[in-house]
């Protein structure tokens, strides 16, 4: 819950703000503003990924773990999706276009009792997401942005995309999904950020 009540009615003297047009404002969650560039946020140096050694795995609570090489991964059926993305640092970017493989495609034939996942990356980054939030046409493993190969600063060669949650859940340099029976906080979730991260409920931080 957002704690708004104690300050109800507070007005910032002299503030008018830059209003956005109403057509896009319905698409912008509370506390967010629209950008037209593509800011970069990462906790450390940008890793340089060697595609010869790259694999994508589904592991954890699964009878037969799955693994794709880069060549195998690129042979999977791909989709192009256009989504709005929302970063917890307050910017939103509308109508971003990505190409990649739906998590539903990767999960085909997988039987699991797991309800949670940890999405993991090169450079040790992790983020936790409920399994229901990455299946059912809600998440992709993407390698193109705006028709171009994904730039390393933005998570290339391959990043996760789960646009209905704050963008830190869309892990850069992604290498796999670990299926888990319990929820384990990931990198930012261990550092003050919300376990779930729904932008429409402004779940930015612990306790939101």
């Amino acid at each position: 819950m957002r704690d708004t009540h104690p300050l109800m009615g507070f007005v910032s003297r002299g503030f008018r703000g830059k209003r956005r047009d109403t057509a896009s404002s319905a698409r912008v969650p509370p506390g967010q503003y629209v950008v037209t560039d593509f800011p970069v946020l990462s906790a450390g140096p940008t890793p340089r990924v060697n595609l010869d050694q790259w694999t994508f795995s589904i592991e954890g609570e699964i009878d037969e773990p799955k693994r794709w090489t880069w060549k195998e991964f690129r042979a999977l059926a791909a989709e192009t999706v256009t989504k709005d993305i929302h970063c917890v640092t307050k910017w939103s970017k509308l109508d971003t276009t990505w190409k990649g493989v739906s998590v539903d495609t990767l999960m085909e034939g997988v039987e699991t009792a797991a309800e949670f996942t940890t999405v993991f990356s090169d450079a040790g980054y992790t983020t936790n997401i409920p399994l229901d939030d990455i299946t059912g046409n809600k998440a992709w493993v993407v390698y193109e942005f705006d028709g171009q190969p994904l730039h390393p600063e933005h998570g290339g060669p391959v990043r996760f995309l789960v646009p209905h949650l704050y963008f830190w859940k869309s892990a850069k340099w992604v290498r796999g999904i670990r299926l888990q029976n319990e929820e384990h906080p990931g990198f930012w979730e261990s550092n003050g950020y919300n376990m779930y991260g729904d932008p429409w409920r402004e779940q930015r931080y612990w306790g939101d």
Binding site: P6, L7, K90, W91
Partner: protein, 249 residues
Amino acid sequence: MISRGPRLITWQLGVLAEIVQETPRVSSLYFDAPDWPGHLAGQHVDVRLTADDGYQAERSYSIASAPEDRRLALTVERLDDGEVSPYLVGELRVGDKLELRGPIGGYFVWRGEEERPLLLIGGGSGVVPLMSMLRHRSHVARKAPARLLFSSRTLADVIYHAELEHLSSADGGLRVFHTLTREKPAGWTGYTRRIDEAMVKEVVWPTQDMVDVFVCGPTSFVEAAASLLVAMGYDPRAVKTERFGATGG
């Protein structure tokens, strides 16, 4: 003290007590925030502005003050096409109230509990969380050796210039290296170019030392600095970064 477990980070009101103009575009705002729970050097704060019709805008700003300081300080660069920063730097007056929420972030923080060397690399207003660390360091008894490499556009754009001179002249364990990217003033003894391999090699410790590294600035600056450190053999996991884009506040 900071609680370690999950807790609600609530909105509260701070009262602007003092404005210090640091450069033509940058001011420090000192707030009395009686309900502030305390923070760690490097953390940030969310700011929320509300217009009289209920329209709101939120942004995040790095905290400039040390945890020990009496007032909570933000140092804000005015972005002419921004929405919040022109209000904070230009409209907000001493005595005005501001909605704040924090502290935010538990990764880009320096606790000052260890004597491992501290390497800080900042570009422009990216120096703000690094300044919180240096101010914190000035309060701790056992000081880690520290170096700051600070890139500014021109001499007039150097944020905290006098305070950095003061801190480093009073403390043999702190060295501050400046570089200016758009000006070569007469008599200037610092660097006058963008950060590069030769500069980083002259400034930083050999990689065999365990060093805590914090890099903050515009994206291109951070990418350049972090890549140079990794190429020199720094462990990527020891290099903590914060980036900000051209847009923002």
